[in-house]
């Protein structure tokens, strides 16, 4: 319940404030969103397996976003930003898919 409320509050805040994202931050946003989604699905799966831990969730969320941004930053500096972005998206996407599959097994038993 509490995370849902927090999520809703965050969405409302984003919609109301409509902050301007500085241009230098723009390339990291999509990858940060995907990394955050990965952390979320990991957390949901852990909750369903009965081993959820708020600290682990927060740390994995923050470190996922930071590492993803770091990889993209490094890629941009090396001139292979788009390739590295693709790599990060593929890995995180795979993780998201298998986490979702695990969640589905827990919820639907299929």
């Amino acid at each position: 319940m509490i995370p849902l409320l927090g999520l809703l509050a965050g969405v409302m805040l984003g919609l109301l404030v409509q902050p301007d994202v500085p241009a230098w931050l723009a390339p990291y946003l999509p990858i940060a969103v995907i990394a955050a989604l990965d952390a979320v699905f990991g957390g949901v799966r852990a909750a369903l397996e009965g081993i959820f831990n708020d600290r682990v969730f927060t740390i994995s969320f923050l470190s996922n976003v930071l590492v993803a941004a770091l990889i993209v930053f490094l890629g941009n500096q090396l001139g292979v930003g788009s390739q590295l972005t693709t790599g990060v998206v593929v890995v995180l996407g795979l993780r998201i898919f298998s986490n979702v599959a695990a969640i589905r097994r827990h919820l639907l038993g299929a």
Binding site: G6, L7, M12, L13, A47, I51, F52
Partner: protein, 296 residues
């Protein structure tokens, strides 16, 4: 705080189990597919169980509230800022397209009005000059020289067109008709006795310009689309000779050979060149008394 992180950092895959897959290169993929859950959860749960606490911390914590708030904010901002510019650009583009369409309509409207007014002026001039054939003749001669009347006569037409290219080639480069090419052609025709020249039914006068604006060739501030047809009235033999073996001809041959530009020349016994639409009085002076007397 430090303990779970410590455990995360020191986590190793469980030993003792031999790798069942001989294809070691698949290890990474398997790792990604089979162990997607952050191992920290498992170790943290084991630690809590060891201390006699329930394995899950539950969802009632300020930390979780804050991180889910940040998460919601991040996703919303990401979605908005990544979606925003595109729609704004599309909006601007359609606005621009609308404005171009409006201005084009206005242009055709006004051009029609110009023709109407020119016809009116011609009628009035005729009335004013009624019975003064010498003056009428002079006016006629001047107007013909200035390009104010449509003309018909023997002449030729030159068609210039860009080389055919596959549709997937994006920005056209040098191998296309440039304003310079049309300038050279038109100047060559003028120099060899052409009396009236039009490009794509657009009459050239002594004040006409042929320019390049971005990707388009602009004649008298009006953009033209390819193919470009240059029609000229004048001494056909001389003009054809110039286009065949003169310096203009050499230039056109080079265009054909170097840039694959399509050049076609056709002779015609009867070529029609329309009147110029952008004629206006730039200089005028009050006629002196002698001229007034003469007119009476």
């Amino acid at each position: 705080m430090s303990r779970p992180l410590d455990r995360v950092l020191r986590w190793r895959p469980p030993r003792g189990r031999p790798d069942p897959d001989p294809a070691a290169s698949m290890a990474l993929l398997r790792e990604v597919l089979n162990r997607p859950l952050d191992p920290g959860y498992r170790s943290a749960a084991e630690q809590r169980s060891a201390h006699g606490l329930p394995a899950s911390t539950g969802s009632r914590s300020v930390l979780l509230l804050v991180s889910s708030l940040v998460l919601g904010l991040l996703v919303t901002v990401g979605a908005q800022s990544l979606r925003g510019p595109d729609t704004a650009e599309a909006q601007a583009r359609s606005d621009l397209a609308d404005r171009v369409g409006e201005q084009r309509e206005l242009l055709t409207e006004r051009s029609a009005r110009v023709e109407e007014l020119q016809a009116e002026v011609a009628v009035m001039q005729e009335q004013a000059l009624d019975g003064q054939s010498a003056l009428a003749e002079e006016l006629d001669r001047h107007r013909r020289l200035a390009g104010g009347t449509p003309m018909t006569g023997p002449g030729l037409a030159v068609v210039l067109d860009d080389p055919p290219r596959p549709a997937d080639v994006g920005v056209p480069g040098e191998d296309r008709v440039l304003a310079r090419d049309l300038q050279v052609l038109v100047n060559g025709l003028w120099a060899h006795g052409a009396e009236a020249i039009a490009i794509n039914e657009h009459r050239l006068t002594s004040t006409s310009s042929i320019r390049f604006a971005g990707e388009a060739i602009v004649v008298d501030f009006q953009g033209l689309t390819r193919p470009y047809t240059v029609t000229a009235i004048g001494p056909v033999d001389e003009l054809a000779a110039e286009l065949d073996s003169g310096s203009t001809g050499a230039y056109l041959t080079e265009l054909q050979e170097e840039y694959d530009i399509i050049v076609e020349t056709m002779r015609d016994d009867e070529v029609t060149v329309p009147a110029a639409t952008r004629l206006s009085v730039r200089e005028a002076s009050v006629a002196d008394d002698a001229a007034k007397e003469e007119r009476r």
